[in-house]
């Protein structure tokens, strides 16, 4: 019964989205209808929320008469994964997508009180159209609440690799980011219809971009963390199509964050900002298409269905095609904004945008090139990580070099020599850090040392900007403290985000260059050398998990005979899906980690049992996750700035 109510609520939401679209556009002309459009937006959200609640309930009570539950759940599964199973499959995750899409629409309706009535109404109308497309897709092509004629007694369970806390929370964060850009998209289309993009528009768009981008940052970091310790390959980024699909909207979102600042503060770049706003959600939809259609071979993708791929591509073509056509038609009429000198903060942000979009283009080209090549030459190929590392690395490296100059250079007409003067200390710190790493860390690697120096440069540059703002080292401490507490949260957010990027670069360069790997089949008591560490396999026992059986190895890690830690990696067997997975054990040593995988049991040369133990020493690897966390925190801190409250519009 609950499920039928849910299915009904979902269909109702589809109808309400249609009403929202119609009333939204009509309401821009007749204010009396605008309120009804807002009501429809909130109603559509309530409908999808009810459907989603019905699906989660079906998963929690293990109602195997629902096809989706039977395919992805099991009575013995822990509660967290029963709930997470609701968005673990294609159908369920599309419902989550719709939930967030209508949720953002409802948020605009409920919290956008300060918005001009026409813009708000039209943005809701566009959001309603998007909701209509995706809800129609969910209802007609991938209904998550469809019943089975002959329900099985037991479900087929969720893929064990997905039964992991990081992955349980990865899709909601990722989708909050992906779909968050839909609001920005709707605002951009609404502004194009009105033919007016000004500072006020940018001020309304910025908080939504910030929120979406911050969530996307967390989502990507969680996904990467999951791949790091659940796949057991020891790596954290593989330039896989699915990873790239989430990374492209992030890059465009980062560019949009910066160009929207220029549009808000200086009224310039308005056409470009609108273009990026449209591109961000287009890349989100492209990601949804790439992940679900199976056109590209990926290590992690949903079970694929070409028909659905065609439908998703049609939705992408329809919405983005219409939006970009509108852009081509209306953009030339947008008022050109303020002028700025070649040496100014605007110019530096333009440079940032050029580099970020070029990097996005390079990632997109590498991701789609196999498709182009196969269509043209008929042979399947893949584009490997060296391509991405080279092109992306060089473009982003340039962007990082320029980054610290941005916040230190004045708007309109700046003095780059003065900015460079303020960054002398930061440059010295960066060179020193790079030199120390180059001299002390063996084996000696010049390029990686340069990367570490670049990370230090970005962090030191971010701190130099705070020092400059507070006149630290130049005025007495009480004055500095007064200035420190007086800094707006937006400024702290920027510093935190930039420093987080630097922290990430430090970790990424150091870990990639100096990680150590070792693997050997060990009998009980056998020893494996991993750089400076020794790993001894003490014991292997069996463990009875809630829905799996496992072999658990006890391993003693020592360094020169002194105990360091005792990781206990597992090899789990899930009877429900007849699959086995490795549960990696991680030892934290400061910001570094020892990573241990227990492999299959096999015969040792003397005939006794042996286990393949594979281990990595990943130095500074935690910085790779700390960095994005700082960036997301920076984004949220900026979001809490008084100047960016959603209701801003009235003068305070």
């Amino acid at each position: 019964m609950t499920v039928e109510l849910g299915a009904f609520a979902l269909t109702l939401a589809l109808a309400l989205s249609l009403a929202q679209a119609a009333l939204g556009f009509a309401g821009a002309r007749r204010p009396s209808l605008a309120g009804a459009g807002e009501g429809a937006a909130i109603g559509a959200f309530a409908g999808v929320a009810a459907a989603f609640a019905a699906l989660v309930t079906a998963f929690v009570v293990s109602d195997f008469s629902v096809a989706n539950v039977a395919a992805n759940s099991h009575t013995a599964k822990p509660l967290l994964y029963k709930v997470a199973g609701a968005w673990g499959s294609h159908e369920g995750s599309m419902l989550l997508w719709c939930l967030i899409l209508t949720g953002f629409g409802a948020a605009v309706a409920a919290f956008g009180r300060g918005l001009p009535a026409g813009l708000k109404s039209r943005a809701l109308g566009v959001q309603g159209l998007l909701g209509l497309l995706f809800l129609a897709y969910t209802v007609f092509a991938s209904n998550p609440l469809a019943r089975l004629a002959g329900p099985p007694i037991e479900g087929r369970s969720l893929n064990p690799l997905l039964q992991d806390p990081a992955l349980a929370f990865h899709p909601p964060f990722l989708y909050l980011g992906y779909v968050g850009f839909s609001v920005v998209f709707s605002f951009a289309v609404a502004a194009l219809i009105e033919g007016r993009v000004d500072a006020a528009w940018a001020r309304w768009v910025r908080p939504w971009t910030l929120a979406a981008w911050s969530f996307l940052t967390v989502g990507i970091a969680l996904g990467s963390f999951w791949a790091y310790y659940e796949l057991g390959w020891g790596g954290w980024w593989f330039w896989d199509p699915v990873e790239n699909a989430s990374f492209m909207p992030w890059l465009i979102g980062a560019a949009l964050l910066h160009s929207a600042v220029v549009t808000e503060k200086r009224g310039a770049l308005s056409g470009w900002t609108v273009f990026l706003a449209l591109a961000a959600f287009t890349f989100s939809m492209l990601g949804a298409f790439l992940v679900r259609s199976g056109v590209l071979t990926s290590v992690h993708a949903f079970a694929v269905d070409p028909t659905r791929g065609v439908l998703l591509l049609s939705i992408l073509g329809l919405s983005s095609g219409a939006a970009f056509a509108l852009f081509a038609w209306r953009a030339p009429a947008l008022a050109p904004g303020g002028v700025f000198a070649p040496a100014s903060r605007e110019s530096l942000i333009v440079l940032n945008n050029i580099l970020l979009t070029a990097a996005t283009g390079a990632v997109m080209f590498g991701t789609l090139y196999p498709l182009i090549y196969e269509a043209a030459a008929g042979a399947p190929i893949t584009v490997g990580p060296p391509y991405f590392n080279l092109v992306f690395g060089v473009l982003m490296g340039l962007a990082m070099l320029v980054l610290p100059f941005g916040p230190l250079t004045a708007w309109k007409r700046g003095d780059l020599a003065a900015s460079a003067d303020r960054l002398k200390l930061a440059a010295a710190v960066a060179v020193l850090v790079g030199a120390i790493v180059f001299a002390l860390v063996s084996p000696r690697k010049a390029l990686a040392s340069g990367g570490v120096a670049l990370g230090a440069w970005v962090i030191a540059g971010a701190l130099a900007e705070v020092a400059e703002r507070t006149r630290a080292f130049k005025t007495p401490w009480p004055e500095v403290r007064r200035r420190l507490t007086g800094l707006p949260r937006g400024a702290w957010g920027m510093t935190l985000a930039h420093a987080g990027l630097g922290v990430f670069i430090l970790g990424a360069c150091y870990e990639t260059a100096w990680k150590v790997e070792a693997a050997e089949a060990l009998s009980l008591g056998g020893q494996l050398r991993l750089g400076a560490f020794e790993l001894t396999l003490k014991d292997v026992g069996t463990v009875d998990g809630p829905n799996y059986l496992a072999e658990r190895g006890r391993i003693a890690v020592t360094r020169g005979g002194r105990p360091v830690c005792a990781p206990e990696p597992e090899r789990r067997f899930y009877p429900a899906g007849k699959q086995s997975t490795s549960e990696v054990a991680l030892c934290n040593l400061g910001v570094s980690q020892i990573y241990v995988v227990l492999g299959e049991r096999r015969a040792s040369p003397d005939g006794g049992p042996a286990w393949l133990v594979r281990s990595y020493f990943n130095p500074w690897v935690q910085l790779i996750y700390l960095g994005p966390l700082l960036m997301a925190l920076g984004g949220l801190l900026s979001l809490s700035d008084r100047r960016l409250r959603f209701a801003v519009g009235r003068k305070p």
Partner: protein
């Protein structure tokens, strides 16, 4: 100074072009340079034999894991054979096989052939989904007339 246009719009356009062009040129150059070594073609064993893949060239080798061919050595090295309808290729891999690696299932190995004709794999991909057949493998096997659709037991190469 004569080439510098007088109109403000034209000047702005030229400035933007001057800023964008070097980055685009750099990106295009890097892309072409990067693609030279990073593209790896996909072959099944029969296609690899027919194409005379040079030793050391990075390629992907896909097909079905020949049943009974998997030998796990104590030093962590794994030897197995990838087969299509016509050929088999020996593969050597140092590392942990994916959890879904099974005899008789579709896999894709990334690596290169050595001088002796043994494929030295750097990475072996099997999928999260146990029913999964890598798309390239499915397409290639279909061309050889071997594909029986989902669920049917696949046939193997030279016995």
């Amino acid at each position: 100074m004569t080439f510098w246009p007088k109109s403000r719009t034209a000047r702005r356009r030229l400035t933007i072009l001057l800023a964008v062009a070097p980055v685009l040129a750099l990106a295009a150059g890097l892309t072409l340079w990067g693609l030279r070594d990073s593209i790896s073609l996909f072959y099944t064993p029969a296609q690899a034999r027919a194409a005379h893949v040079a030793p050391g060239r990075a390629v992907q080798l896909g097909g079905l894991v020949l049943p009974g061919s998997v030998v796990k050595h104590p030093d962590g090295r794994v030897a197995f054979a990838i087969a299509d309808k016509q050929e088999t290729a020996r593969v050597s891999y140092q590392g942990d096989l994916p959890d879904l690696f099974r005899e008789g299932q579709g896999v894709v190995a990334e690596g290169s052939f050595d001088a002796a004709g043994v494929f030295q794999a750097k990475r072996v991909l099997a999928k999260h989904d146990e029913k999964y057949m890598p798309r390239e493998v499915a397409d290639a096997l279909k061309k050889q007339g071997e594909w029986r659709g989902d669920g049917a037991a696949p046939a193997y190469g030279k016995p």
